[in-house]
Symmetry: C2
Subunit: 245 residues, 2 copies
């Protein structure tokens, strides 16, 4: 019982309109059905043109007020607000809910590893669509049905440090539901739904690092493909089930 992860190295800087699936396939070695591609949101967003240029942003009154409170660039705050449906916290850092329901700092808007000094990178408009598009394009290029996880690095309540989570999922389950299955002593397991796509995203980050230019990782040996495929949206806790929003 083994799981192997390998980084996809040598990807060029990604630009809007690039065929990201083809660029990854060329460098990924052999891809087989049942493998999973974990890809960093940033290269997906760049290929999808999800970039804004701060010098072209006019901050609103709300952005200016928040920026003063947070000691931030009001144009950056405006870009964050444009991606936001709800502000969850605005002390120290802007923690918001995005249009897709992700709760994260700055709506996932990020200045690091972006080419133009004045450019910022947004999350994909729909990370599940991004994942499905990559899944289908890889199948058309290679014939392999490869699971795809679009991942990003998020903070957490209660715990220090960031971990990668799964924003978009295609071609593999997002969760495994053990409820009702017998444990090792034959008693039914309770309340055990495991977010395997998040766990795989976290695993892949160990090879991605932040400064290594490894925005894609192939996982081989994940034994979950008898379960129906899921989506990244399954991993978003609905507001009414969330005690911490």
């Amino acid at each position: 019982m083994n799981l192997e992860l390998r980084g996809v190295e040598g990807l060029p800087e990604i630009h809007p309109g690039d065929d990201l699936a083809a660029l990854i396939v060329e460098r990924a070695g052999s891809l087989r059905s049942g493998d999973v591609l974990v890809v960093a949101q940033k290269v997906v967003s760049k290929a999808e043109g999800r970039i804004r240029t701060l010098s072209e942003v006019t901050p609103s009154e709300q952005a200016i007020t928040l920026a003063r409170k947070l000691d931030a660039d009001p144009r950056m705050v405006q870009v964050v607000l444009d991606e936001t449906t709800r502000i969850v916290r605005d002390d120290r850092v802007l923690i918001v809910e995005t249009r897709q329901g992700f709760v994260c700092a700055n709506a996932g808007v990020d200045r690091s590893n972006v080419d133009g000094a004045d450019d910022v990178c947004l999350l994909p408009l729909d990370c599940d669509v991004s994942a499905r598009t990559l899944h289908e394009r890889i199948e058309s290029l290679t014939g392999a049905r490869v699971g795809v996880v679009v991942s990003d690095t998020f903070g957490r309540a209660w715990r220090m440090g960031l971990v990668n989570v799964a924003l978009g999922v295609a071609g593999m389950p997002a969760v495994l539901d053990y409820r009702g299955r017998p444990d090792d002593f034959g008693m039914p397991l309770q309340a055990t739904v495991v977010a395997i796509a998040d766990e795989l995203a976290a695993a892949a980050e160990l090879l991605m690092g932040k400064t290594r230019r490894v925005p894609a990782v192939i996982a081989h040996g994940l034994d979950v493909f008898e379960v129906a495929p899921g989506t990244g949206q399954e991993l978003v806790r609905p507001s009414e089930l969330d005690l911490f929003r």
Copy 2:
């Protein structure tokens, strides 16, 4: 650049006083310095005798009241309260802060995969001590300096499903701190401290599953050993830095 994870199979049911390190070493194949053992909290707790028997528990008034509200066994609630320093939420589920500062459901007290029908399993008293003890014992048995992560399956705010996190760490860093390092374009990275021990715990869970009797996983190829070793306590967000407690 590869990371390989393999499950350690064939471990017997663990009892108080068992030499868990030896039982794992016998079944783990070759262990080399720089490998990491991720081990499920449950077998560590069993070896350490961290088991209570519900028929021997007398619930307090507080436990009885909470149990009524939560539709739970008051003896189980009492055991949870005995491990708790602060109740964070008591709607639907008891989310508490444990003596070690972990915020989790039921203080990590768990009835699944425990032998006696009336027994429940507690978290280790000090998960970092547990990790260090395993680290040292493995070195004395094999000569290899192996990183150790004691992990458990926790829920999260904002996201559905559980993931494994690192409660105790020894012989490897718990976090990697990228702050100030240049990104791919030479700009300094900001606010990027990655919880690699949590990511490795999550990765290992993919092989552990919940019903497979694989409570230990060996990771080979993690390239972090130039960084000073850390602890699981570094992953606990201090209350005063937590916006969600």
